[in-house]
């Protein structure tokens, strides 16, 4: 057997480097891929060999996925899982459609087929032409114009702009997102960097809003119209909170601890409260994350007052919670937990505390039900028929990240736990449709 065949056999047995584009209804499934040792989720398409389109991917994300596909190195393949079939097959000529509750099996099968030669690498989709070719004038190609084209062709060009250090030459405008791994899913922005600082942050439209979908399976959304068992609501809340913590941990480079949190989210129930508390104590210890996240992503408490942004507000000391007005929760002796930190570290600790509290409430809830009065305390804050905490938090984002270092800006964004799907589904015009 040749060296090449041996290498291919070994490569086929390696974890599948996967770049995920998660649409509607695939947020959790995409995150759960971290738990599978046969899959490794990569941050940049260049490091991937399989592109996974999970859930219903809206049009702007599909466009971005096409560009991501074209920068993936050969051999590469595309897997679609629970997508609206036609939209994907129209754009990706060869796509493997995955069935079943998890896309992992299909990813592994496609990866094997790619490496053993049973399946060929997908050809590029876009034409490989430079939209703004360099038109140098001098004998060494210097001077002239061009090379400021789009993505993936062309690169950002530094421009002149006043700066606090007196140099006017180092402003670098970079389009970031919607598939940037350091951002919440779908967030995209035009960012002007000055070194490591975010000088300007212009939020781009929410790609999920192009093709919003109702989120009827979400227990918190069901609780808007009808009472839902508190046990169900609180277990769902604990899971969402743990998943948010995992996203923060992942961004801070603690992949293994993030996996532990995701696994705990998957099996969370009233019996796991002690395990969640233990993990919370470990993760929020000073040496682990607390020192690094302290004073990162501070928001004026006055700006949060009355906004109904759940853990973010409560981590700033504002005891705002829809649940305090609910008779069923009052019966259970619920009081809103708060922190005084008002930074990313406090929000991480707050989410762990609330996850523990939620699991304890779920254990005591018996058959009690809550909801049905048009406003629910979701895992991110007050949810109504036409308003979501994500939409309200997005308004604060440009001010939050402007003037911050890039690492702090991404950590601050992760600490808000934005879900752009929720913002799209709960916006006024979508909610106007009768459910």
């Amino acid at each position: 057997m040749g060296v090449r065949a041996t290498l291919a056999r070994w490569a086929a047995a390696a974890p599948v480097p996967t770049f995920v584009v998660a649409g509607f209804g695939a947020r959790e499934a995409a995150q759960d891929l971290w738990l599978d040792p046969r899959i490794v989720l990569v941050a940049a398409p260049r490091q991937a060999s399989v592109l996974l389109l999970a859930g219903d991917v809206p049009e702007p994300l599909l466009q971005a996925a096409i560009r991501a596909h074209d920068v993936m190195p050969a051999p590469r393949a595309v897997v679609a899982w629970r997508t609206s079939h036609r939209a994907v097959t129209e754009r990706f000529p060869t796509v493997a459609v995955a069935e079943g509750p998890q896309p992992a099996e299909a990813l592994v099968a496609v990866h094997r087929a790619l490496r053993t030669g049973d399946q060929t690498s997908t050809p590029p989709i876009l034409a490989d032409v430079d939209p703004a070719p360099w038109r140098g004038e001098g004998p060494y190609g210097q001077g002239g114009s061009g090379m400021t084209g789009g993505v993936p062709y062309g690169r950002p060009m530094a421009t002149r702009e006043d700066d606090r250090d007196g140099l006017t030459l180092d402003a670098l405008p970079v389009p970031v997102g919607p598939l940037f791994a350091g951002f919440p899913d779908g967030l995209s922005a035009r960012i002007t960097f000055k070194g490591d600082l975010v000088h300007r942050f212009e939020l781009q439209p929410n790609p999920f809003a192009a093709d919003p979908q109702a989120d009827r399976d979400d227990p918190f959304v069901r609780a808007l119209a009808d009472p839902v068992p508190i046990a169900e609501l609180e277990v769902a809340r604990a899971r969402e909170l743990l998943r948010a913590c995992a996203r923060t941990l992942h961004l801070q480079g603690l992949d293994a601890l993030a996996v532990r949190a995701i696994a705990l989210a998957g099996r969370a129930g009233p019996g796991e409260a002690a395990a969640v508390r233990r993990l919370g104590r470990w993760v929020t210890a000073r040496w682990c994350t607390a020192v690094q996240l302290r004073r990162v992503g501070r928001i004026e408490p006055a700006a949060l007052d009355g906004l109904g942004v759940g853990p973010v507000a409560r981590a700033a000391g504002l005891a705002e919670d829809v649940r305090t007005d609910d008779p069923a929760y009052r019966h259970l002796g619920f009081t809103a937990l708060t922190q005084q930190g008002n930074d990313a570290a406090a929000r991480l600790a707050q989410r762990f505390d609330e996850a523990v509290q939620a699991l304890e409430l779920a254990g005591r809830a018996d058959g009690l039900r809550a909801g049905g009065n048009g406003a629910v305390e979701g895992p991110r804050g007050r949810l109504t028929a036409d308003g979501s905490p994500t939409a309200r938090l997005l308004e604060l984002v440009p001010e939050l990240v402007t003037g911050r270092e890039w690492g702090d800006a991404t950590a601050a964004l992760a600490s808000l736990d934005l879900d752009l799907r929720e913002a799209a589904s709960r916006s006024a015009d979508v909610a106007a449709d009768p459910l």
């Binding site: 060494y140 210097q142 530094a158």
Partner: protein, 203 residues
Amino acid sequence: MSASWVVDVLFWLLAAGSLVTGWLVFRTDSMVRAAFWLLASFVGVGAMVIMLGAEFIGIVLILMMAGEMLIMAIIMVMFMMNPAGLNPMFMVHQHRASIVAGTTAFLGLAIVAVLTSFPDRPVASGVDATEQLGFELLGGSMLAFQTAGVALLSTMIGAVVLANRQGRYGSADEGSIEPDLDPEPSAEDPGSGTVSDAAGGRS
């Protein structure tokens, strides 16, 4: 002996390499590449110094150049509107003046190199040059080196003070503007109130 043959080849390779990379500094079209070619040239020179038996000086030269060339590259890119210094640019300017300066410098150095009678005192193989250098630095030449050291230290402190955000003329965020040479006080400036103003305020 075969060892001396290897040493000769190595020396000439390094010498030629230093010259070629030095020449490439001016032939490349990018500031960062120019800085790295210069670094390569210096590493070649450092290696030759090591071959001359001055191990410590040669390695320290290489060590220092790594940081210096990186800082130089970053500062050059910072001052030029050229993303990452990768877009092609013309690295040679003022041809006539630079030809004259280059030729003059070369002739001067060549004359010195040809006319000087270099000492020819081979060192015994057992001598540790590093140790001797240490005794020289903290012995006979101590005054000269310590003076240079203190001078460099004060330069560094001065540079830090000048680069400080709270500079000599106020915060850099507010422009850190040098006060006018004209001693006439401006009307709005409350800090430069005259004696009569102060007296008027008191009465």
